[in-house]
Amino acid sequence: MRIARPLRLLRFRSGGLAPIIVILAVLLVLLTARQPDFLSPPSLMSFLGRSAPVVLLAAGQYFVIVSGELDLSVGSLVTAQVVIAARLIDGDPSAGWPVVVLLLAFGVAVGLVNGLVTTRLRVPSFITTLGMFLILVGAVYLWSDGAPKGGLSEEFRLLGRSAFEDVPALGRIPYALLLLLAAAALALVLTRSDFGRTLVAVGGNPRTAELSGVRVWRAKTLAFVLSGLAATLAAVLIGGYSGVSFQAGAGLEFGAITAAVLGGVALGGGRGSAVGAMLGALTLETLFTLMNFYGVSGALKPTVQGAIILIAVAAASFRFPSR
């Protein structure tokens, strides 16, 4: 089975990895055609490093989507986390780690609320997390009345900004990339674990799962918690990469969801893979870079992005008819 699974992902119909790999490959070819040195270790490394947050979010979103739900609050959570971090740290180097722990706790808390409201109060997750989105944004503005206060310490920002310098062959390896790899590995382990498989069942047919002894509410809530944690890590990286700002997380939720769907994760649950979701995110980031290199006018970028997404998803859904 351990060997069978990746094969299956390619062989079986929906949620396969084949389409996203193809798309990503095509984009990379186009990219290198325009910018031959893009795939050279240093630039590739920094590309992967800066893409880490979005990929993390996509992985987190995978767990929520595959369990049949949706998390629209991650973007606002990222913003909230960055702003909170800035205010708590306020340039104090020593505050770094304690604050990170605190952020993780907050991320878990938000995930818990999302999960419990969705599962216990039976509020569609679209609404739950939309509400959470409004609440978080509002609260964070309220708390810092309109402008982020304090600032992040260089120490805190290391994780998102710095790298192991002069590594043989690769040149530099961003810490962000390492964190990403660790998280990705963890996500993979999770998807193959009992929990991971059960979660898919929950998304596929909650009734059956319930009657087989699965605590559906618990599984889904855990999924939201994972998403919250992913958002927190993303926030730490983004804050590190580019500092504090209310824009830090703007629109990331749509990015993450789109990435997951691009990667073959079926909205509605029960199908898809974390790997797919992460590749989807990487694809979107590649597209973004591609447009910079091809000098697509800033204003036209959304159009290109939208077109690519529609075409890709349509193509996928044609090759893999979804029931």
Binding site: L130, L134, I135, G138, D145, Q305, L310, V313, S317
Partner: protein, 323 residues
């Protein structure tokens, strides 16, 4: 047979109206204690104007949601419509009707595209409409660097500012459109089929309903409503505004209004009356907080809470009846 013994045959009146009355009552009390007047003429007029804009969009949104779909591109359709209308009119009353016609034609076309993507191309409505939204965003960002065109004065005086007592013409328009939509759902084949498709597309198909055609029509109607909202805003603003739709958060707010009105996000259950109630509720909350000069961000938090709470109540009722 999950549904066995659930809700009674008679539709229960949407609880949203109860909430609306309570909000207004409490709001009136608080505002009065605060030394203000909630139902002063200007305040009422403002309230109804806010409701009219959102309402037109939300009524359209109701149709797609009842059909089990979703339209997140409405915000951009609204913006585009204001521009098409205002630019075609160019301040000339003669061009009024052609302009409105063109506007509606354009928005209908967008709706058609949405519908086809969702049905024929089998793209999940969330992704499909977000994608189309991006296409439009690009067009707007690229083509417009600010308000353009000039609305025909007749329209401004009429739809924009004309009112009968405290009731603006635009609100009457909303009521008319809502009534039409209600009538459509209750008394036309299309309506019956739409609800069926929302309840179970395959089942509808087996019963000989042309599911795709129905859903496409719903999307066209939704876009038309957004187009109308655009015309109204153009009449209000005296010009076309490329960002008015997104500034107004019409995409998410309309969905919020729909679910506040008790329409199931999953489709197959709900109605326009509730939506209008939901819109009025949101508008009233706005008005009350305006009178109290409550901080916007706090207001946003409250909104988030209200939306989630309201839907939780709906879910609770449904559950109690189901179990």
């Amino acid at each position: 047979m999950s549904g066995a013994l659930s809700l009674p045959a008679r539709r229960t009146p949407p609880g949203v109206f109860v909430a609306l009355v309570l909000t207004l009552a409490i709001g009136w009390l608080v505002v009065t204690l605060d030394g203000g007047r909630l139902f002063s003429l200007p305040t009422t007029v403002s309230l109804l104007h806010v409701a009219a804009g959102l309402g037109l969009v939300a009524v359209g949104q109701t149709l797609v949601v009842v059909g089990g779909s979703l339209d997140l591109s409405v915000a951009y359709v609204v913006s585009l419509s204001t521009l098409v209308a205002a630019e075609t009119m160019a301040g000339d009353d003669g061009a009024l009707l052609p302009a409105i016609g063109l506007t509606l034609a354009v928005s209908a076309t967008i709706g058609l595209v949405n519908g086809l993507l969702v049905t024929t191309a089998r793209i999940n409505p969330f992704i499909a409409t977000v994608g189309v939204g991006l296409l439009l965003k690009g067009y707007l960002d690229n083509g417009y660097d600010g308000p353009a065109g000039k609305t025909a004065p007749a329209l401004v005086q009429g739809l924009g500012y004309q009112r009968i007592g405290p009731v603006p013409l635009s609100f009457l328009l909303l009521l008319a459109v809502a009534a039409a939509a209600w009538f459509m759902l209750a008394r036309t084949r299309f309506g019956h089929h739409l609800i069926a498709v929302g309840g179970d597309p395959e089942l509808a198909r087996l019963s000989g309903v042309r599911s795709n055609r129905v859903l496409v029509t719903a999307h066209v109607l939704c876009a038309l409503c957004a187009g109308l909202a655009g015309v109204y805003l153009a009449s209000r603003l005296g010009a076309g505004a490329p960002r008015v739709g997104t500034e107004g958060l019409y995409d998410l707010e309309s969905i919020a209004a729909v679910v506040l009105g008790g329409t199931a996000l999953a489709g197959g259950r709900g109605g326009v009356a509730g939506t209008v109630g939901g819109v009025l509720l949101l508008a009233s909350v706005d008005a009350v907080f305006n009178q109290l000069e409550v901080d916007v961000f706090f207001k946003q938090v409250i909104r988030g809470v209200i939306i989630v709470a309201a839907v939780a109540v709906h879910a609770r009722r449904a559950m109690r009846k189901a179990s």
